[in-house]
């Protein structure tokens, strides 16, 4: 078998069965192999940032990694900002990057670059395959690195000739590691803290612990002890909706975060790091944690935080059947005749979002408002931007839809950041993915108005204003979506939005609604 076939067989044997790709010359044997080796589904993306973002979304919803196939240094470069987000999400991913043939690397060809240097900025594991004999084992090694808890970016650089030459047999099947549960004495120590400190103590849930089981256990602990609970902003997937315990995220702005955390004497981390401010601002400390607050780790990133929370709940004597959070009746959505404000959209989403929906959240300036409404929606999960690099919302929606073909994906998307990776719409159309995209069209980098004030910049005039403004010309997302084969409509009233979103929820397939905000 060729090296490319060896690579494909090793992926398939390890149940990596999806590859988001944008191939070039050095990857042609890999592409040809899709017809010769069973088990790998190739999904074409029109830009590499879509590949990496989709692989991230896939991993967050599937648990197992997808592969991403990228072409040389520039192809990897185009994927880096979404790899940055995936790294912060601790998503497992196997990036396969084609390289020039071994002998051709020594010349300075136009596409020559230091691929490993590009990879190093975002990867936990990097290996350049140098011989045919090591190819199969190197693929298995990359897979093992990717699935090492909590999840890592593994980058495998494969010179073109190693794809077309005969290779040794496929690499071994990797044993899936299990996550360790923290020792019971640590559980008991934490329980003691919560019982004695009450609401001066808090849990911070990150990683996989912000999903439904972890939240449920945390809610029990809070009810039994009075301890506060917070969610790490970089948790890759969190449960929300009626009946689900809804602790606040650590707020985005540092003074709000400091206010939320005020009075804490103990903060216990579950798959999370000590919270820090998103940006540094004048006269503002980097951490919102009160001085003197003792911060300890109950479950490290690579441990099983959910099991730790469940054991802790039992240790705290929490009642097991407590599931009473926010069983409010579903709202009927915004009233016809209301202006199409952010809140009106939030009410409508809360009323119409189907159970088990997957929400890709790249709403930026309107995120906090909408998420508050979604606490009253049917139970669903949310996939936030973990690393702050905009342009992941639509790609993550692609990957989530591939991972969960039976669930509705709703991409809630700011307009400015939508333009970073809009090419994802084409893959939604080609693969007929069940994704409804809502564009919040305020025609401005609105968050930067806020940041401009916060950084105490001098008053701005028309030249600076133009750098935050997305008018002149207005972006027409209906045309843009249709240009990539996604049916689309514009909503400027509550009636239009409600009817379009209801239709999107009742029909399968990709669809875009441009919500023009009042």
């Amino acid at each position: 078998m060729t090296g490319a076939e060896c690579l494909l067989h090793t992926l398939a044997a390890n149940r990596i069965d999806v590859c988001f790709m944008n191939p070039g010359t050095s990857e042609m044997h890999f592409v040809a192999g899709l017809d010769h080796v069973a088990g790998l589904r190739g999904i074409l993306c029109l830009y590499e940032g879509v590949c990496s973002g989709a692989a991230d979304g896939y991993a967050r919803m599937h648990g197992s990694p997808a592969a991403a196939l990228l072409h040389l240094g520039p192809g990897l470069a185009n994927s880096l900002s979404n790899l940055h987000n995936a790294r912060k999400a601790r998503s497992p991913m196997v990036c396969i990057v084609g390289e020039h043939a071994t002998w051709h690397r020594k010349v300075d060809a136009p596409l020559s670059s230091d691929i490993a240097a590009f990879a190093r900025t975002v990867s936990h594991h990097i290996r350049t395959v140098e011989t045919s004999a090591e190819l199969g084992p190197a693929v298995s090694e990359a897979i093992a690195a990717a699935i090492a808890p909590p999840g890592q970016i593994a980058t495998l650089i494969v010179p073109a000739d190693l794809s077309w030459l005969r290779a040794a047999p496929p690499g071994p099947t990797v044993v899936r590691p299990t996550r360790a549960v923290p020792p019971s004495e640590n559980i008991r120590d934490s329980a003691r803290i919560f019982r004695s400190a009450g609401n001066a103590s808090a849990l911070l849930l990150g990683g996989a612990s912000a999903r439904e089981r972890g939240l449920y256990a945390a809610g029990r602990i809070a009810a039994a002890t009075g301890a506060r609970v917070f969610i790490d902003r970089s948790a890759p997937c969190l449960a929300s909706g009626r009946g689900i315990f809804a602790p606040p995220k650590v707020p985005y702005f540092p003074e709000n975060a400091a206010a939320e955390l005020a009075g804490l004497t103990h903060l216990i981390l579950i798959e999370a790091d000590t919270p820090v401010s998103f940006f540094g601002y004048p006269n503002t400390p980097s951490s919102p944690v009160p001085a003197g607050c003792a911060v300890s780790v109950l479950a490290a990133r690579e441990q099983d935080g959910t099991a730790a929370l469940e054991a802790l709940a039992d240790e705290c004597g929490a009642v097991p059947e407590l599931r009473v959070w926010r069983y409010n009746a579903a709202t009927g959505g915004a009233a016809a005749g209301d202006a199409l404000t952010v809140d009106a959209i939030g009410e409508t989403l809360a009323a119409l979002l189907p159970e088990s929906a997957i929400v890709s959240d790249e709403m930026i300036s309107v995120s906090a408002s909408i998420l508050t409404h979604l606490e009253f929606a049917a139970p669903h999960v949310q996939l936030p931007i973990t690393g702050g690099a905009i342009g992941q919302g639509l790609p993550v929606a692609v990957g989530a839809a591939v991972a969960c073909p039976d669930r509705k994906v709703v991409a809630l998307q700011a307009d400015g950041s939508a333009m970073y990776s809009l090419q994802a719409l084409w893959t939604m159309a080609r693969e007929n993915l069940d994704v409804a995209v809502v564009i919040f069209s305020n025609r401005r980098y609105r968050i930067l108005d806020i940041e401009m004030r916060r950084t105490a910049a001098p008053p701005i005039g028309s030249r600076a204003d133009a750098m935050l403004d997305l008018r002149r010309p207005d972006l027409d997302f209906v045309s843009l979506a249709q240009g990539m084969g996604v049916p689309a409509a514009r909503a400027a009233t509550v009636e239009e939005f409600t009817s379009q979103f209801r239709a999107a929820m009742s029909e399968r397939g990709p669809r875009l609604i441009e919500a023009v905000l009042s």
Copy 2:
């Protein structure tokens, strides 16, 4: 003055008066400064790859660098593949990358990353400013690095607090370096080689020597000595058209290149490196230069190759007024009723392209055919993809149009690669740039069909075919352009294309034609 104002003043004092930008929180003071410091025009791009590609196009046509303003590591990451092209073009550029405030760098915030590591992959000069006192001098140092011949990528990393704190005065004005002319004994040695070896000797023109003056001198040398002349594929700007000497580029495919260079005993480089194959292929050497051919450098990259060619022409006794190349009558364009083939488009372009037009060439699989036709067009310049990283064509057109507002820019653009940086269309609309975009819509990564065969991949089936195919759904570039405010039309016949392209040449402002190839 604030650090941001110091930065702006230093740029303006050095006549860097355009900044292509996509700012974020850490760059707010720079943006605010646009209204407080005269002399810098901010141009908003909706994706950072547009910023870097536009700065490249600007530099190739203006000679002086533009600035690019990018937000943290991910913003820089998004710009890297076009910085790769700019690096290979030796375009001068000053990249300003905002960083977290100095004290905030030590925490692992969501957007924290190793910015210098991203920068290192493409930059000749990198400096992170650490104190307010050093800011002005550091800006001048970056400018000096950027304009050092032949042109470099200089990256300046500026922590946010250094933008808002008081700074020392602006940095000094940098003296523009001149390019050295090779010593006259080297000119005489080369002349001897050409006179004795005749058509077994050749010139390879790269860098700035493939512009009109250099080509003219090279044509005189060829006429006087029989020497062959070739153009480096990575020359950033080359002259073409009626009356302009049109030596061949070193062919893309190595066996074609080897055939062109066959029989050479002497190859003399002018601002170029020894030619190498674009990719390595099975059983094919990396270099097409014949064994035993002596390769020597007459003008190094940083020297004045054009002056060297002029001196060499005189030394060879070439007559000065020889300007007889390709004075063919202008073709009338393709005949009505012909199918809209690549050749029909080429004939029409050759007939209608206005004098002094700037052609951004990202035509990929149809480039060779079209460029052959353009040798018969009115004199114009061409900006090719220097580093092979697709997605530069539209951004480079943006930058060229900003640099040369009185010249028509024509972006000749493959469909697949257009999708890499289509956001450039919005900047064309906002700035009302005089750019006509022609999309060659063959709805396929056509070049990969060729590469698939060349790499001797096994026969492909439907799964591999789908990875090269841009149908299902078809991209509708008319909708996509209109969605970003650029008037657009589709041409499926020679009549439609001719009338649309003629209209585009006679009117100012951005316009897109999707040419659906027969």
